[in-house]
């Protein structure tokens, strides 16, 4: 069986010999990169700088809460606002693989810039097994290019260190619990963030719609699970569809976009079943989303596909 304490011990030794100098870590505030930051920070201390990039695609309140969390963890870190750069790079881009590649490349460019300022030769990433498996290569088909693998440009200036490469999320959580990391149970969130939860061009406006919808889905599902109405799903969020449909709001015709709600149960993200959310919870989610964004959204649907044939995220 996977032994978290043994893993931590082995990595501590390995990282001390592998990282000979300054390093930066790509930190999103999620479980994988936070565990990585804690492991590397233990090994090399102040020679590590955690870089959190605000891409403009973050969830409601996320940047502030990650900043505070990293501070509490005692990891040397900075927050870089690169949102203008990201929106400009994704102007007119609707193809999901293109989005992922552009975002992956931008991440590296920002990290390279910060690495230079800090004098780091190493880039630490919280890459886990499904990231490189789904990114494909060789015989393996590309299901989606994860920003930290398939999105990496060929001409990189920094050396990659990926201590969690062979682990799945449930194992990373075991390590997180052993390290007493507060985000150990936080739901997974993709690196390209809300940019891949907008089916179509991610603009400040479209991202704002899905940000609001995601916040409502998270709030209602967390509330229902805390009340014992349902098990907390592995992942739960909203997706903005480019499909318009007719509605009626206050006796007036409406013609707005559609939000899809997605929630799945999984152990390792390599297979998943859709969550059986109680209908009254779905009801509340649909009403809140449509009422809050009435000019823009007038229809909410629930995604009932498993993985396979679907994937967890839509893009």
């Amino acid at each position: 069986m996977f032994n978290a304490d043994k893993f931590i011990e082995e990595q501590a030794k390995k990282l001390k010999t592998e990282v000979k100098g300054k390093a930066i870590i790509a930190a999103s505030g999620g479980v994988d990169s936070t565990v990585c930051a804690a492991l590397v920070s233990r090994a090399i201390g102040e020679s590590l700088l955690a870089v959190y990039v605000d891409t403009g695609f973050m969830r409601k309140g996320e940047t502030e809460s990650v900043d505070k969390m990293l501070r509490r963890l005692g990891v040397n870190h900075i927050v870089v606002d690169a949102s203008d750069e990201y929106f400009a790079a994704l102007k007119g881009v609707i193809d999901p693989e293109k989005k992922r590649k552009i975002i992956g490349e931008k991440f590296i460019r920002v990290f390279e810039r910060e690495a230079k300022k800090f004098g780091a030769e190493y880039l630490v990433q919280g890459t886990i097994a499904p990231d490189w498996i789904e990114s494909g290569g060789g015989l393996r088909d590309t299901i989606k290019s994860h920003h930290n693998v398939g999105g990496l440009p060929a001409d990189m200036d920094v050396k990659l260190v990926e201590p969690l490469r062979d682990l799945y999320k449930d194992e990373v959580r075991k390590v997180a619990r052993a390290l007493k990391i507060e985000v150990a149970e936080k739901q997974p969130f993709p690196g390209p963030a809300l940019a891949i939860r907008v089916m179509g061009e991610p603009t400040r406006e479209s991202v704002e719609i899905v940000r609001e919808a995601c916040a409502i889905v998270e709030e209602e599902i967390e509330k229902a699970s805390a009340a014992g109405k349902m098990k907390l799903p592995w992942q739960y969020f909203a997706v903005l569809l480019p499909v318009k449909s007719v509605g009626v709001q206050g006796d007036v015709r409406a013609y707005g976009y559609t939000i899809a709600v997605r929630a799945v149960d999984s152990v390792d993200a390599m297979s998943a079943v859709y969550s059986k959310i109680p209908h009254d919870v779905l009801d509340t989610i649909a009403s809140r989303i449509a009422n809050k964004m009435k000019e823009k959204v007038n229809r909410v649907v629930y995604d009932i596909t498993n993985k396979p044939p679907a994937t967890i995220e839509w893009e």
Binding site: M1, F2, G138, R140, I143, E182, L232, M270, S271, K307
Partner: protein, 233 residues
């Protein structure tokens, strides 16, 4: 913001954890139970990588079951294959149309002299390589499928005869090779599992390594037991 951050700040983190933990504990318990009864003979099993999405899962399940396990590319020369058993992984190659992408799998089946478990593409390849046929499924299966065991053999011994299995295939075995028997079927696929009448060659169309497949760990343990028995002979 995550529920857990709220919970953590309010000192409720211990209340918030169990929802997520229960799912993880379930596998942990089933693997732990098997782990404790596993005979601690060092078994070495290689996972031959045919490019499947779940190749690394096969590695993980075998590792969880205390086997010395390594993933190797399917073009590894036969003389470098030193193991007590082989798992031919599933893969992106469609054996009906591009069998050459299956590398040296044919040699491993013919000459390695150890038990072989083919999964999905590995299973289809085993069938066509040994004189049977594999080709496009009339109804491909993705995700949840009910499988019925017709002959429990060693691989399904003591397990329920109907179980949920996770699938992901466009092709399937359409004709068994000589001296093979079918062990299980589903509504849309006649050969969900097969084995050679006398040799330790097994094929499974579904994916026992996937978390959602019932008793997958037990099926791998059965294969390990088969490898162990073969080693003693």
């Amino acid at each position: 913001m995550s529920h857990f951050i709220y919970a953590f700040r309010e000192g409720r983190i211990s209340l918030a954890i169990p929802f997520e933990v229960t799912a993880n504990q379930r596998i942990a318990e089933s693997a732990d139970a098997l782990y404790s009864r596993a005979v601690h003979l060092t078994m070495r099993i290689l996972v031959i990588d045919n490019g499947g999405q779940w190749t690394h899962r096969e590695w993980r399940v075998l590792r969880d079951l205390n086997v010395e396990v390594e993933i190797v590319p399917n073009n590894t020369p036969l003389e470098k294959i030193k193991a007590d058993g082989l798992v031919l992984s599933g893969g992106a190659p469609r054996v009906g149309v591009d069998a050459q992408k299956m590398g040296m799998c044919g040699e491993y089946i013919d000459k390695s002299g150890v038990p072989v478990l083919g999964i999905c593409a590995g299973h289809q390849f085993m069938a066509s390589h040994l004189g049977g046929k594999a080709g496009p499924s009339k109804v491909p299966e993705f995700g949840k499928t009910m499988v019925t065991v017709d002959d429990e053999d060693e691989i399904f011994k003591g397990l329920p005869t109907e179980f949920v299995a996770w699938e992901s295939h466009n092709d399937e075995v359409t004709q068994l090779p000589p001296d093979f028997v079918s062990l299980a079927h589903s509504d849309n696929c006649a050969v969900q599992a097969m084995k050679h009448k006398t040799k330790p060659l097994y094929g499974l169309q579904f994916h026992p390594e996937v978390e959602n497949t019932d008793n997958g760990y037990e099926m791998f343990q059965a294969f390990i037991d088969i490898c162990q028995a073969h080693k003693k002979e």
